[in-house]
Amino acid sequence: MDSDMEMELESDSDEEFNDDYDYYNTGEDCDVERLDPKRADPEYFEYDCLTVEDIEKLLNERVEKLNTILQITPALAKVLLLEHQWNNHVVVEKYRQDANALLVTARIKPPNCNKDQADAASTSAAAAAASTTTQLAKMGSYKNNTSNHSSSSTTTLSTTVSPQYRSQMCPVCASSQLGDKFYSLACGHSFCKDCWTIYFETQIFQGISTQIGCMAPMCNVRVPEDLVLTLVIRPVMRDKYQQFAFKDYVKSHPELRFCPGPNCQIIVQSCEISAKRAICKVCHTGFCFKCGMDYHAPTDCQIIKKWLTKCADDSETANYISAHTKDCPKCHICIEKNGGCNHMQCFNCKHDFCWMCLGDWKTHGSEYYECSRYKDNPNIANESVHVQAREALKKYLHYYERWENHSKSLKLEQQTIDRLRTRINSKVMNGSGTWIDWQYLFNAAALLAKCRYTLQYTYPYAYYMEGGSRKNLFEYQQAQLEAEIENLSWKIERAETTDLGDLENQMDIAEKRRTTLLKDFFPLHA
């Protein structure tokens, strides 16, 4: 901005070289744009397309980092990161503030368990820090009554420890077994190995992984992955568990998105979490990085969701019914008015009535128009609801028709390109020009599709916009864009009679209109 201003000032003072300055000025601008594409292109978006292996590595690095800082098991680190958007700093911060609260909110510990111990630890900070650490290390791991079985021994937990050789009854299968067959979490609810295993498999089968909880009623302590993977032996179930858990991890990471392309394994990563378009480098699916739906600039994620739901559900059917139908005053069946005449006869009970006032038709006779005078008397409340519904329907249909129309045009223009391709092919074969000579037409067609796509998504935006000067401006720019797009479409369809310069000019204008609209209305940092 500043450099622009300076240039303008300079050129004002130096009239003779005005042309030269303009020339350099644009040159300068281009450089600036190249240096800061964020400012020049409202749709500029930096992202990476990563594989599952890349992501596993990335997540494991975070886990290891947390392990070393807090001295905890990887399983516990995963739970804590999952619960805190994979932000190590937040986890460490929260741990230093109140380790007990952190473990309770992450559902590693039940509320009120070991409370005294933890309170003591968190109040006398430095001295007790060590003991909290060991406590934290113990938490999140499960307890097995064989002291040499689980590596992080948990024998000092305040809950009762059953001697490993005393037999115990499992509350789930009701069978008595030796103590070493029993496992429990920080909550101390003890169940036998076989029951845990069957329970885990049942949960995994339902697609549950990181959210598997303790088997005890009303206990919400979470089962960390090390216990699941210790007990679940069947490779199929283990794989499933790891797949589901991986999905949960990616979904909980704000900077990662699964590519929505069918059967695509790519995960897109970006530090900028905004409604920008990401295009998968493998399957070429484009989508909004923020919400994962089809890219929808200038409309934002909430609005487009609202709009698509509105288009998909039958709320408009309801409005239609309200706007075009009334109930028969006699038998109350719903009647659609399908002609102009206001003399209605109910198809169900054959009652004759007036559509306007819902009165008996007999009283109308030749004096039909009289009813308009009484119209607002008996039915004012109903009328106003009908009028409102009709108005709402009209508004929606206005935007919906345009939205639909541009969507159809996009498809039709794809057919135009296909036709162009065959025609150009035959031209090249007949020796008129080379393939390269006609390449500009495809660039033009691609640009047209890009512009029309944006135009399509301006309609939901306008539908939900409140009236006022900003809406006027928006609709003005929208109209401008629309006009240029139709010009461009016209020229592409008649490509052979349009000269190259004219077409390129038209492309430039259309794209400028599009970026102007996006710059003004696309919420960049929403």
Partner: protein, 151 residues
């Protein structure tokens, strides 16, 4: 059918030996996973004096999944619909393998004492229960007399 799990045998034995007051659950002669249940209406509830028949079935993966329970006797209750289906958290997402037939039936008995119209299954009943509790309770009493009291 595979042999009956120890857990079901144990539970059945205990239900017979130490029955819960107001609750009677007897396994079917031909199917040990199917129970004929009778719950008496709790005192100080509009269902007092009623004898309600229910059916209870233990699915193949019980206790990993909850038993299926249904009222057979018609009942006017915001959380029980016309088909006798029951809206109760412990029968759905709050089911735990450590819960038992006994605890489930106790929860159902408690539901009769404390209807929850804010989490309705029978919408019309719940609506009336909220706007005019007195009338709803009157209806519940009437239904109890009509359908749940043997002459």
């Amino acid at each position: 059918m595979s042999s009956l799990p120890r857990r079901i045998i144990k539970e059945t034995q205990r239900l017979m030996q130490e029955p819960v007051p107001g609750i009677n659950a007897i396994p079917d002669e031909n199917n040990a996973r199917y129970f004929h249940v009778i719950v008496t209406g709790p005192n100080d509830s509009p269902f007092e004096g009623g004898v309600f028949k229910l059916e209870l079935f233990l699915p193949e993966d019980y206790p990993m999944s909850a038993p299926k329970v249904r009222f057979i006797t018609k009942i006017y209750h915001p959380n029980i619909d016309r088909l006798g289906r029951i809206c109760l958290d412990v029968l759905k997402d709050k089911w735990s393998p450590a819960l038992q037939i006994r605890t489930i039936l106790l929860s159902i008995q408690a539901l009769l004492s404390a209807p929850n119209p804010d989490d309705p299954l029978a919408n019309d009943v719940a609506e009336l229960w909220k706007v005019n509790e007195a009338e709803a309770i009157r209806n519940a009493r009437e239904w109890t007399q009509k359908y749940a009291v043997e002459d």
